[in-house]
């Protein structure tokens, strides 16, 4: 089944019109000795068979519809309203191409224009692009953009250790050919105010994440001071933000951001094992010509009717080639559409309510867990939907126990990325976690339960002996 309508009769007629005897003749430019290699691939399956096989493969996974989950760290289980799937499932949207021919692509173009508007609403920025691949690459592009704003003269980046570790790695990957100096990652992720000390006139940008990777909300006054420190030295202030948090907390424009970017997966995108996700990106008006990615603009047609087109294309690879702001071509348009539908469905009150639910449930979980002996919060700073929990034993051990004995997926092991944070778990609680699930987690971690399990099965050492 290759979805090929041509019959043998069609092929014969076409070969005749072309003036060759068989299809082989069309490949005469291919070196003969290399032609028609054997491809050792499994025998083809019918639709019925492949669906059965895929269902079996998917059932080798533990999925989150069957296990309470307290794992976040940059990918979140948030509620996806049914309307999202029904809109992005319309084949007029998902089988359309990039809207280079605007007259017959107004659906895509207008929906992206609306998405851009909503991202500006969330972040307080003046302009937004049509998407990057994810939050990490959006941040990397923010770095490239900041260097470009300085016309390549500034070669230093101040990067907070509170930014997602994988995002920081991606920034390094993207800039490996550029000879930049990236500082700040070795500092305390909670000491954001101290970053101001390492900003100088060689700094292209200062980057923080809010809430940071450990879940903490940065004090807007501290961020405002840091923004001022950056601006006084001529550097840009870049904030990587959780978009759901922006339903409740101050938009980064309020505390001096020049660029706001982040991961939009939480806005109507499923977890999907890490992708496809959505990098949102927005900036102040004065930097729009340095912004990468597609941008949709409003215009009129020959009859004076409003319409939308891709615009400011002189920045992009298909026009500027080696001088383009970025190489980005295909982006995450359908995920941006999902985010737009989500934001429109939630609206100003709904998004705030989602954020409040996350906040209250995370704080309830933290309070109950702190009542257990041996559990402490890393810091008393305010947090949003995640918090760093110091535990009485190694996180991997706790998670294995939680999964095997209780069918619960525990939080993220912070020691992997922050060696000083031994036995510290990043616990995430969203609006999808019920009170029952939170109470179950607390019950599972209470000393009685742990002791009971150890008594039943013996510790590892006893079993091995």
């Amino acid at each position: 089944m290759s979805y090929i309508p041509n019959t043998d009769a069609d092929r014969a007629a076409m070969l005749k019109a072309i003036g060759v005897n068989n299809i082989d003749e069309l490949f005469r430019d291919v070196p003969e000795v290399l032609r028609y290699p054997e491809l050792k691939l499994p025998a083809p399956l019918s639709e019925m068979e492949i669906l059965r096989e895929l269902r079996e493969i998917s059932e080798y996974n533990v999925d989150l519809e069957h296990a309470p989950c307290f794992l976040g760290a940059g990918a979140y289980r948030h509620f996806v309203p049914s309307v999202v799937g029904h809109v992005i499932g319309r084949s007029e949207f998902y089988t359309a191409y990039t809207p280079y021919q605007p007259e017959i692509s107004q659906g895509t173009l207008q929906s992206i224009f609306e998405y851009q508007s909503m991202i500006c609403a969330l972040t307080g920025m003046d302009v937004a692009n049509a998407s990057h691949y994810d939050g990490a690459t959006a941040l990397a592009e923010a770095v490239l953009m900041s260097v470009s704003v300085s016309r390549g003269k500034r070669r230093k980046v101040v990067l907070s250790a509170g930014v997602h570790p994988e995002y920081r790695t991606v920034v390094h990957t993207y800039t490996q050919g550029m000879g930049l100096t990236i500082v700040g990652e070795e500092a305390d992720p909670l000491a954001t105010n101290e970053l101001a000390n390492i900003v100088d006139t060689d700094t292209a940008c200062v980057i923080v994440q809010n809430p940071n990777f450990l879940g903490y909300l940065e004090d807007p006054a501290v961020l405002r001071a840091l923004a001022e420190a950056a601006h006084s030295k001529g550097a840009l202030f870049v904030v990587s933000a959780d978009p759901v948090s922006l339903g409740l907390f101050a938009p980064p424009a309020d505390y001096g951001a020049d660029i706001v970017c982040g991961e939009g997966q939480a806005l109507g995108g499923g977890l999907n094992f890490g992708g496809p996700y959505l990098g949102f990106f927005a900036c102040k008006q004065q930097y729009v010509h340095k912004m990468a990615g597609r941008i949709v603009g409003q215009t009129v047609d020959r009859n004076g009717q409003r319409g939308f087109v891709l615009t400011l294309s002189a920045r992009e690879q298909h026009i500027r080639r080696e001088k383009a702001t970025s190489n980005i071509c295909s982006n995450e348009a359908l995920m941006a559409l999902a985010a737009a539908v989500y934001l429109a469905a939630m609206g100003k009150t709904g998004l705030r309510k989602v954020a409040e639910l996350c906040y209250h449930k995370a704080h309830y979980a933290a309070r109950r867990l702190l009542a257990l002996p041996g559990y402490h919060l890393l810091s008393q700073k305010p947090f949003f939907k995640e918090f760093a929990l110091r535990c009485p034993r190694p996180v991997d051990e706790i998670n294995e126990y939680l999964l095997d004995e209780w069918g619960i997926i525990g939080g993220y092991n912070l020691e992997k990325d922050y060696p000083q944070l031994t036995n510290t778990m990043l616990v995430c609680v969203t609006e999808m976690n019920t009170r029952e699930e939170i109470d179950l987690l607390v019950e599972a971690l209470s000393p009685d339960s742990f002791v009971r399990e150890n008594e039943r099965w013996g510790s590892d050492e006893e079993v091995a002996a």
Binding site: S2, I4, P5, N6, D10, A13, M14, F27, D29, V30, L34, K40, P44, I50, Y60, P81, V87, S91, E92, F93, Y94, T98, Q106, G107, T108, A121, L122, V127, Y133, D134, T137, T173, G177, F249, L271, G275, P276, Q298, V300, Q305, V309, Q317, R320, R321, N327, C329, S330, E332, A333, L334, V341, A344, T349, G350, L357, Y359, Y364, P382, L403, E431
Partner: protein
Amino acid sequence: MKEALIYEISSPGRIAVNLPDCDVPTTSLPEGYLREDLPLPEVSEVDLVRHYVRLSQLNYAVDKGFYPLGSCTMKYNPKVNEEAAKLPGFVHTHPYQAPDTVQGNLFLMYQLQEFLKEISGFASVSLQPAAGAHGELAGVLMIRAYHESRGDHKRTRMLIPDSAHGTNPASTTMAGYETVKISSDARGNVDLEELRAHCDDTVAGLMLTNPNTLGLFDEHVQEIARLIHECGGLLYGDGANLNAIMGIVKPAELGFDVMHFNLHKTFSTPHGGGGPGAGPVGANEVLSPFLPGPIVVKERVEEESDEWSDEEELYYYHWQMPPSSIGRLKAFYGNFGVCIKAYTYIRMLGAEGLRQVSENAVLNANYLLSRLKGVYPLPYDRTCMHEFVLSGRLPDAPDVHTIDIAKRLMDFGFHPPTIYFPLIVPEALMIEPTETESKETLDAFADALIQIAQEAKTNPELLHNAPHVAPVARLDEVLAARQPVLQCLK
């Protein structure tokens, strides 16, 4: 036909979701941290749905009709792929779950890595890049890392043919290299003499698309590979045009060292209006250590002695960073949801099916070319592969441009081909039918283009004022760039 903006149909107090009440005791919010206003729309679910349904109906799409965009491979998107990607066991998995709990996902990604290796002849594949351009960046960074690892710091230049897609030079710049343009010769091949003159020890490599953006298989591809390798450079393959050669030839055997795939072109995953796609990258033995990671590896698991599991080989799948990896190119692993669709496609077609894809793609293109070559100027008169390039410069209609031809095609119910690319053909029209179109569709398209060529002579105003039947008339792109209005908030 105008559709109101979502903000224009908002009304305070409306909402399109209902959320449960808070089931836990509340905690006070931190003062001074909250926002005052949140200017998002407020619509009911019925208005929301109608808005997006009406918007969707303004779009052209593959599911509506023919989309002969050169180098985009707008083939039909099988619906079974969509079903596959929606399986809850896939959708509801978190990237940071312990590998033990996501063996299904890891198995699927491993298999896809293996399939792409087999199709291309490369030794290893990384599924991490999220788009073709992302894969290109990976490839160029890998070439750079390779030279650096050998202490070879002189190589600062990347050779790129003048027919190349804009992402090639853009990716080169991002990786820190200088772009050097190499001309194409009169037959549409890379100019060998010019290439030979540029090959020295300052060259990092050549980025080659084969078949190229003219739709032509380079008649000297093996010689090109030899020249590049001889001067110590590496050959990057832009795999956008892989639809022409699956089961016909393996790119690695032609001499490519590294290549990206476009799953949203060759492997039938939908374009989504501009993504998500996926741009996996394959590498030979020499470059495999530098792949972006992590990638999926497998190891044999000790079996318990059990009569009935004798024949089964048990494997454990997990992540591994290639030993000299250029690093992560994005967070997490890659566009897994897109990978599922490509996996499904390859499993349904098999080796024979993939070869038929390429054979029929090339046949369809040559047939369409045979119908049009007498009507529109054909700059390179050779057997084409899966696409071909005509010029819109009709001798009897000097005032008619490719843009007019493109807009007039819309009135016939077709999406225009790629226009004004490649840059080396003035007034280019790049046409790629793909294998999923019937002869009737090809004939109807040819008939339309032939009629438009006539109209260009007899009634050019019809073309200049096209499109006539689209939801909007021709849009003013100059105004959009001169007076940018990029969002609708006050």
